[in-house]
């Protein structure tokens, strides 16, 4: 991954009538970066990807691909290739013909073309299946054909539109590893659209979380999970306990807050932080709360009782009621120590780390009209 920007999106908006599908989106994606656009359906992530490919025409703004202003270029003139959600394998052609489809226009020598098709099929581990027809392939194999067909064009950017959503869980996890390996091998920029937060976390160098046509946060997977900027981002990326807290004072980049039962803690101000009434929302992830057994002691403890329990195999999800808190807390315990056997109503103690709290900024009001 280099520092050179491969994609620069500047103030791109897309209106359908008065509906804003994209609302003033700006971002920069580096050469060789694995970048994910993450968000719920209808958040504009696919529209943004299709704008880069050239299938959508943004109403305003500009998209630079490798420094070239590209909005005026049709899809067939852009150095991008796409893996479609449906894979769009040409049904009347076999695997090798599918992969060679784009090469035909380059007028390569037959040997050169054959070599490139062969190399592409090797890369996605489909060697020997060149003569298969589309309907003879499994879902995972089609996915690979779509990848090979795009990569054989040696694009500067590979665009992936929910490429794994049609696969079952096990295959999806396998393909995630493979996609990541492939991206490292070819070294080009990958832009992935997904609504699956785990997929985005596992694959990406950076993630842009989108809501309502806008980018809510761009950060590395770790940062976006541990330091979500707003409540919506925190919520979308996994379980989160939200608490109302009172601001005690601000010193530069830090804020002291009183989280009632958890005591006073010092937290880092997120970008766009503001408080109007002296109250803020803080969050703590369920797995950052830990059960204490028997004689276990921790610097920060709270007493509570089990209100609900759900068994998930490797982990148990507990809902714990705490006196003085409006909402019960969610926590996740591995099943090594018997959390799955705790009866409902049991009195427990839990430990927490004040550092694990995140101060959340207000989400902007939703208005797409």
């Amino acid at each position: 991954m280099s520092d050179r920007a491969m994609i620069q999106i500047e103030n791109v908006s897309k209106f359908y009538g008065i509906y804003k599908a994209l609302d003033d989106v700006s971002l920069s994606i580096a050469e060789g970066e694995f970048f994910s656009l993450l968000g719920p359906s209808g958040c504009g992530k696919t529209t943004l990807l299709r704008s880069i490919a050239g299938f959508e025409n943004p109403t305003t703004g500009e998209i630079y691909i490798d420094g070239v202003p590209s909005l005026a270029l049709p899809p067939n003139k852009r150095p991008t290739n796409m893996v479609f959600q449906s894979y769009a394998i040409f049904p009347h052609l076999d695997v090798a013909e599918n992969v060679a489809y784009g090469l035909k226009r380059l007028k390569l020598s037959p040997e050169e073309e054959k070599k490139r098709v062969g190399d592409a099929l090797d890369m996605v581990r489909l060697s020997g299946l060149g003569r298969r027809k589309a309907h003879e392939l499994s879902g995972g194999q089609r996915q690979r054909v779509a990848l090979a067909r795009a990569l054989v064009m040696r694009p500067k950017v590979l665009l992936l539109d929910e490429p794994l959503s049609a696969l079952d869980k096990k295959l999806r996890e396998e393909m995630q590893v493979e996609l990541r390996t492939l991206q490292k091998a070819v070294g080009i920029t990958f832009i992935l659209v997904t609504h699956d937060q785990y997929e985005a976390l596992a694959l990406s160098d950076r993630i842009a979380v989108m809501f309502d046509g806008r980018i809510a946060q761009i950060a590395t997977p770790k940062e976006i999970y541990q330091r979500p900027r707003t409540r919506k981002v925190a919520d979308f990326l996994g379980g989160m306990n939200f608490l109302k807290a009172k601001v005690l004072g601000e010193q530069g980049n830090a804020v002291s807050i009183d989280t009632a039962r958890f005591g006073a803690v010092q937290l880092v101000k997120p970008q766009g932080f503001a408080t109007s009434d002296g109250h803020v929302t803080v969050g703590i992830r369920p797995e950052r709360l830990r059960l204490l057994w028997d004689d276990d002691r921790a610097p920060h403890e709270l007493a509570g009782r089990i209100e609900n329990r759900a068994y998930f195999g490797e982990v148990t999800h507990l809902t714990v009621g705490i006196d003085g808190l409006e909402q019960p807390l969610s926590m996740v315990e591995t099943n090594n120590f018997g959390a799955d056997d705790l009866p409902i109503g049991a009195e427990i103690r839990l430990a927490y780390d004040p550092e694990a709290f995140v101060l959340l900024a207000e989400d902007p009001p939703v208005s797409r009209l």
Partner: protein
């Protein structure tokens, strides 16, 4: 299993019913080729011996050949016209969503359910009122109205699964709009188009009522056959002709069905996932 159904199981009434049904349906049609090879001018048993003379007599029958030629012209024109119109309609219905779409589709299909003779009479009235002379052209127009629904249903099933992202994938891989049409759109929907041509040609070939009302002095084959039935001596020749038409129709419809299924499989498997 109740006692009654247990007993009924031993009576093979269902196979018997099926056998009778098919006998009733196909025996008369089977008689046609049998008598067409029978060396007698009457259609009675016992058969009088094998001959191909009725077929031989057809080749020298210039009136019949002219009717066959007319049928060919009408059939080709009708299949081409109704398939072109069907392509437009099928594409609109499968690709776009618009106000009145269901109504439009319904109205296109409606001629299938209208009494053909009523349509024929109304068409005749209009054609005469407009002062247009009856000819093969009027037959072609009338039959096209009837064939568009068939063309459309064949084409819709072929187009329905056509995934728009196939065309996008082609642009994305560097192909132009014209190249995409030639290399992706056409090959994928071609079987459905050929199938539509075959089906509509077959329908036109044996369509009688519209042809009878609208053909004027240029009979098509079915109109010619109807005319021949007045002469008992001509019957074996008609049977021979009928046999040929039967074979041609069956061959073409079989081919059409094979192509239609292939088209369906292609387009549906293009994006259906296992």
């Amino acid at each position: 299993m109740s006692l009654l159904t247990q007993r009924l199981r031993f009576i093979p009434f269902l196979p018997i019913y099926v056998a009778l049904y098919f006998l009733f349906l196909y025996l008369p049609i089977l008689l046609l080729p049998i008598f067409s090879f029978n060396n007698a001018a009457t259609t009675t048993f016992p058969l009088a011996g094998f001959t191909t003379k009725w077929y031989a007599s057809l080749s020298g029958n210039s009136v019949m050949l002219e009717a066959a030629w007319n049928s060919l012209i009408v059939g080709l024109s009708v299949s081409l016209l109704s398939t072109i119109l069907g392509i437009c309609a099928a594409r609109a219905i499968t690709r776009h969503r618009f106000r009145g779409q269901r109504a439009a589709a319904g109205l296109i299909m409606a001629p299938l359910f209208l009494p053909e003779i009523i349509v024929a009479v109304s068409l005749l009235m209009i054609v005469l009122a407009m002062g247009v002379e009856l000819s093969l052209v009027t037959v072609i127009l009338g039959q096209t109205v009837f064939c568009v629904p068939y063309a459309m249903s064949v084409l819709v099933s072929g187009f329905e699964g056509f995934d728009r992202s196939l065309e996008e994938a082609s642009y994305d891989l560097g192909e132009t709009a014209i190249g995409t049409f030639r290399r992706v759109t056409l090959p994928v929907v071609a079987p459905a188009i050929v199938s539509s041509l075959l089906v509509t040609f077959t329908i036109s070939l044996d369509e009688f009522i519209l042809a009878f009302f609208l053909s004027g002095t240029e009979p098509t084959l079915p109109v010619y056959i109807w005319g021949q039935l007045r002469f008992a001596a001509k019957l074996p020749g008609v049977l021979a002709l009928g046999t040929i038409m039967l074979v041609v129709s069956i061959l073409m419809l079989t081919l059409a069905e094979i192509l239609r299924r292939r088209a369906e499989r292609r387009t549906q498997l293009a994006h259906a996932l296992p």
